[in-house]
Amino acid sequence: MEPVTPILEFNKTCVSYTKQTMAVKYVSAAIDRNSITAIMGPSGCGKSTLLRAVNLMHSLYPNIRVDGEILLNGENILSMEPIDVRRRVGMVFQRPAPFPTMSIYDNVLSGYALNGIRLSKTEKDETVERCLKSVALWDEVKDVLNKKGTFLSGGQQQRLCIARALAMKPDILLMDEPTSALDPIATAHIEELMQELQKEVTILIVTHNMGQAMRISSKSMFMYLGELVEYGDTAMMFSNPSDERTRAYLTGKMG
C-alpha cells in the first residue's frame, strides 16, 4: 500500500519574534485528514503562533521569522505565495469579527470579493445558502440576509465567520480559540458544528479549554514553552499522558 501524504505536516517548524527568543521550537507533527486536532497549552506556549504560521499570518509582520517546513499536501507553504496558501487554509479568530460594512450575504462571499473573483447571481445564492446551512445559521438569518452581520449575537457572528472561511472551500480550517469569547450555549453550538464539519474539512483548533479538546478532538498536541511536548490520541493523552508536564497541565497543577 502506498503511504498516504498527511494533509498538513510540521517539520522542525520554528517561529521567532526576535533573534534571541523562539516562540515555537522545532515542532514536528503530521495532521490527519478530516479530523479535529486540538492544540493545548498554557498562555504564551506558542500554540496560537504555530497555528497562525500555517496561514502565513506572520508575513504581515516583518519582524517574525518562520524556519523549518510546513507541508500542505506535501508542498512547503513557506515557499509559496501567502495569498495562494490563505485561499486553501481558512482561519477563524478568537473574537468574531464579521466585516461591519457588509451585509450577512456579502460577508459570506467576502473571500470572493476580496480576491476579485466574480460569481454569477445563482452561484452566489448557492454559496451563501450552502455555507450558512453548514454552520447551522441559515434558518436563523435567511430572512435578514441584507442586514449587517454585526447585528447578530456573538455566537451567530462567529458562525458567520466560519461560513465566510468555508465559502473559499479550504483544505484546512484553523481555529484560534474560536469559543473563548462566547457563552456556553453558543460554545456548544460551535462544537457540535465542528463535529459535522470535519467530514468536509480538516480542523486544527487552539483551545484553552481542556474539556473542549476532550469533547471534540481525535488527536491533541500539548505545547509548553514553545515545544511540542506530547502529540497523540486525545483519549489516550487525557487518561494516560506520557510526559510529566502534560500530566501537570491536565490535572490543573500547571496552567
Binding site: 496561514n55 499570518m57 504581515l60 501567502p82 495569498i83 495562494d84 490563505r86 485561499r87 481558512g90 482561519m91 479568530f93 473574537r95 469579527a97 466585516f99 461591519p100 460594512t101 457588509m102 467576502s110 473571500g111 470579493a113 476580496l114 480576491n115 476579485g116 465567520c161 465566510r164 472561511a165 473559499m168
Partner: protein
C-alpha cells in the same frame, strides 16, 4: 471654602467662551442689519452687483459666495490625491514605524506655516508658472488660489484621516488577509469602508478651514467683483472681499461687508458642526 472659590473661578472662565461667541454673532447681526434691510436678505444673497457709485449703490454677495465655493471645492479636489496617500502611508502601510512618525511630523509642520508665507510662494513662484504655462494671462485667479489652498489643507485632512485609518481593528484586517486578500484589496474593501465616515469627516473639517482662509486667497485670487466664469478667471472670495475693502468702506458698503462676514461665519460654523458630529459618530462606531 477654597474649593468653592475655585469652582466659581473655573465656571467664570468657562463662561467666557460662550459669551465671546454670542458677542461676535450679535455684533455681526447688528452691523449687517442695514445691508439686509436695504437690499432684502434673499436679494442680497442672490445679487451679483457690487457697485459703490454714490446714490446708486448696489451690493450683493453672490460673486463672493461663488468665489468661495469654487476655491474651496477645487482645493478639496486637489487636496484628496495628496492627503489620502499620506494618510494611508502613516496610518496603514508604515503604521508605527519611524518613517511614518517623521512623515506625520513634517505634515503637521506644514499646518503651522503662516498663510502669508504660502501666499508669497503662490505669488512669486506659482503665479509666474501659471503665466508661463499659458493657463491664464494674469496668473492670479481661482485656480492659483485653489492650488495653494489645497497645499494648506493637506496636513489637516491627512493627519485626521490617518487617525481613522489607524483605528480600523486588526481583527478585521487579519480576517480579510486570512481569506487570501492582497494588501490593496484589504485597503479597498475593508480599511476604506470601515474608516470611510471618519475620512469623510476629515475632509469636511478641511473644507471648514479652506472656507475662511483669507490671506493666501486675497493675495492670489485676483480681486475682481464679478462671478468667475471659469476656473482660470479672477474673482474674490467672501473673506478676500472683506480683507480688500474693509479699510475704505463705510455705511452701507461696510454693512454689506459685515453681512458677507456673517454669512461666512454661519456657513463655516455649519460645516464645522457637521464635521464634528460625523467624527463623533465615526469614533463611536
Amino acid at each position: 471654602m477654597s474649593d468653592k472659590l475655585y469652582k466659581i473661578l473655573l465656571f467664570a472662565a468657562a463662561l467666557i467662551m460662550p459669551i465671546v461667541c454670542g458677542g461676535v454673532l450679535y455684533a455681526l447681526v447688528t452691523d449687517a442689519y442695514d445691508a439686509f434691510e436695504h437690499f432684502g436678505f434673499f436679494k442680497f444673497l442672490t445679487s451679483s452687483e457690487w457697485s459703490y457709485t454714490e446714490g446708486a449703490e448696489q451690493y450683493g454677495a453672490l460673486p463672493f459666495i461663488t468665489g468661495t465655493l469654487m476655491t474651496t471645492m477645487l482645493a478639496l479636489l486637489f487636496c484628496i490625491p495628496f492627503s489620502l496617500p499620506v494618510a494611508l502611508f502613516v496610518g496603514e502601510y508604515f503604521k508605527g514605524t519611524r518613517v511614518a512618525s517623521v512623515l506625520s511630523t513634517v505634515t503637521d509642520l506644514l499646518a503651522g506655516i503662516p498663510s502669508i508665507i504660502y501666499g508669497l510662494w503662490g505669488f512669486y513662484t506659482l503665479r509666474p508658472l501659471i503665466m508661463a504655462l499659458d493657463i491664464s494671462p494674469q496668473g492670479s485667479g481661482i485656480l492659483t488660489a485653489s492650488l495653494v489652498l489645497a497645499i494648506m489643507i493637506v496636513p489637516y485632512a491627512a493627519s485626521l484621516s490617518a487617525e481613522f485609518i489607524k483605528m480600523v481593528p486588526n481583527d478585521l484586517k487579519e480576517g480579510a488577509y486570512s481569506l487570501g486578500a492582497t494588501r490593496a484589496e484589504v485597503i479597498r474593501r475593508v480599511v476604506f469602508p470601515v474608516a470611510g465616515s471618519g475620512i469623510f469627516s476629515s475632509y469636511v473639517l478641511a473644507i471648514g478651514r479652506a472656507l475662511g482662509e483669507t490671506m493666501t486667497v486675497t493675495m492670489l485670487i485676483g480681486n475682481t467683483n464679478n462671478i468667475p466664469d471659469s476656473i482660470t478667471s479672477t474673482g474674490n472670495s467672501m473673506a478676500s472681499i472683506i480683507a480688500n475693502q474693509f479699510g475704505e468702506a463705510d455705511d452701507l458698503r461696510l454693512s454689506s461687508l459685515i453681512a458677507i462676514g456673517l454669512i461666512l461665519f454661519l456657513i463655516t460654523a455649519f460645516i464645522n458642526m457637521i464635521g464634528k458630529i460625523m467624527i463623533k459618530r465615526a469614533r463611536i462606531a
